[in-house]
């Protein structure tokens, strides 16, 4: 933990992740339309968050820990941290799991391979998963399935996320930071992704990196 300036008594702060499809709250099995004009439904949406850094103008505080945010598990969408900061104006975190944890054997907790976010035949974490179906997908039951992972050079799929409140500081009494994640950004960002053209991503490599470049922009800090 790096601290500078005045410190305050520890208190808890909550970071709440809310998943969206565009401007609508994400619901499983509801139909959405992506940037390529394709209708699709979502069955499963999960991602790792780690290395959280809370900041204000004077101070910065690093929090260790790995969290798996799972659309189907509301409890997983709230991360509670103990902080000494009286205000927070910016937050940084890693989307995914750092390289070290990919190469040092089997981990526990949110990183337990039993969480089903892990490749056993080509060791490494799936940093984020988006799965569902779309009639355009030429696959059994028209499923599309993006398991995005890769930690090696040239295949890196973790992304550093930096979010800040433009004007006001987050003030102490509220104690909640809302972060939204927009799945439509997976298809429409730096790269244009079409489900019909690429319905499956199950290994590290080019498509995974393209999806990662897109999801790097899916987060935003919510105004209340």
């Amino acid at each position: 933990m790096v601290l500078s300036g005045a410190t305050f008594a520890q208190h808890s702060i909550s970071i709440k992740f809310e998943n969206y499809a565009g401007t609508e709250l994400l619901h499983v099995q509801q139909t959405y339309i992506n940037g390529a004009g394709e209708q699709f439904t979502v069955r499963n949406f999960r991602y790792y968050i780690s290395n959280i850094v809370l900041k204000n103008k004077l101070q910065s505080e690093t929090h260790e820990g790995y969290f798996l945010i799972d659309q189907s598990d509301d409890a997983s969408k709230e991360i509670i941290l103990q902080t000494n900061l009286d205000s927070v104006s910016a937050i940084q975190f890693l989307l995914g799991v750092d390289s070290l944890r990919n190469v040092t054997g089997v981990q526990t907790g949110a990183l337990d391979p039993a969480m089903d976010m892990y490749w056993t035949w080509n060791t490494g974490y799936v940093m984020a998963k988006l799965e569902g179906s779309s009639t355009g997908a030429n696959t059994p039951r028209h499923i599309f399935s993006y398991h995005v992972g890769g930690y090696k050079e040239g295949e890196q799929t973790t992304r550093n996320i930096k979010l800040s409140f433009n004007t006001v500081d987050f003030v102490r009494p509220k104690k909640i930071i809302y972060i939204s994640a927009d799945i439509l950004k997976w298809f429409d960002g730096k790269n244009k992704i079409s489900i019909a053209a690429t319905p499956l991503c199950h290994e590290p490599g080019k498509l995974a990196v393209m999806l990662a470049d897109n999801y790097a922009a899916m987060f935003s800090m919510q105004k209340e």
């Binding site: 990919n102 040092t104 054997g105 089997v106 981990q107 337990d112 039993a114 056993t120 080509n122």
Partner: protein, 357 residues
Amino acid sequence: MKWISTILFVALILLVAISWHDRKPAVHSISFTVPKGWPQPVYDFKSNPITEEGFQLGRKLFYDGRLSKDGNFACASCHQQFAAFATYDHELSHGNNNSFTRRNAPALFNLAWQPEFMWDGGINHLDAQPLAPITDTNEMAETIGNVISKLKADTGYRRMFKAAFGDETINTQRMTKAISQFVVMLVSNNSKYDRVKRGEDSFNLPQRLGYQIFQKKCIGCHTEPLFTDYSYRNIGLPEDDFLHDKGRMKITSKSSDSLKFKVPSLRNVALSFPYSHDGRFYTLLDVMEFYRHSNPAGASVDSSVKHGIPLSNFEIGQLTAFMKSLTDSAFINNPRFAPPGFETRMPAAQPDIHKSN
């Protein structure tokens, strides 16, 4: 007065009982010995210190069919001790629901020195290795979560996890660390070749000549003392038109890695037939015949075998004699590596490894 001493006495007994109960169960550490002249192992023993309790737990897991979906496929069903922990006489091993594995099961030994695992090197840590067969539908076809639940439901396992790790927590990490504690101890360094190197024995003439030929033609890849340099090479085997196995390229996506496979160790090679990543060769002679007739095309073929390896019939005979000197019968007969409980059925007494502690 008497009641005070009684109370004191009872309190004392309670205290002793509590401290006895809270005492961390003693573990008996096993030191890993690096054979003389061998490189340092790459396995990180600091994060998984080997103990007798962990080793015995790993051994039980290795031989336990409950790690597979239908209960039939223990690790040991494909990795058999008498075949130096390869699958005896099978090109491809049998897995769940009458399926075949996609590759030939390699022999298991000297894993502490191995930086990556599988024929394509896709697995980067020994602890992570068991997760691949457990979940592969062609192998044990189970989910990690189910295996952990089965172990948790078993009082015997709970006791053994506690003995090995201090409490009854059972999770993927502990299970895989225990398996590593068993398989990492599978050190094979007592072949005739090793005894000759230690000055305890001598080669016969064909073995000696074979060793000279081997040093000229083979050690570029099958490097002593482990008989592999753990690199990935394309020796020019034509791609199988059913399996379409691209080897290392599956992991790196680089076309320059197409059809490259990990150089296998040749220790115990006389026991681990059939040979090559898909088990296409039944005998050592078949492998030698391939090397000498091979004239492969393909950009990724290793430059040292672009035109095969010239070998006369005579040389093949000597090389084969030498390779047979790499068989370690002490290893394949070591009762510590046999199914749990095997020692108690053995006539000879085993040294008590607890004594040194």
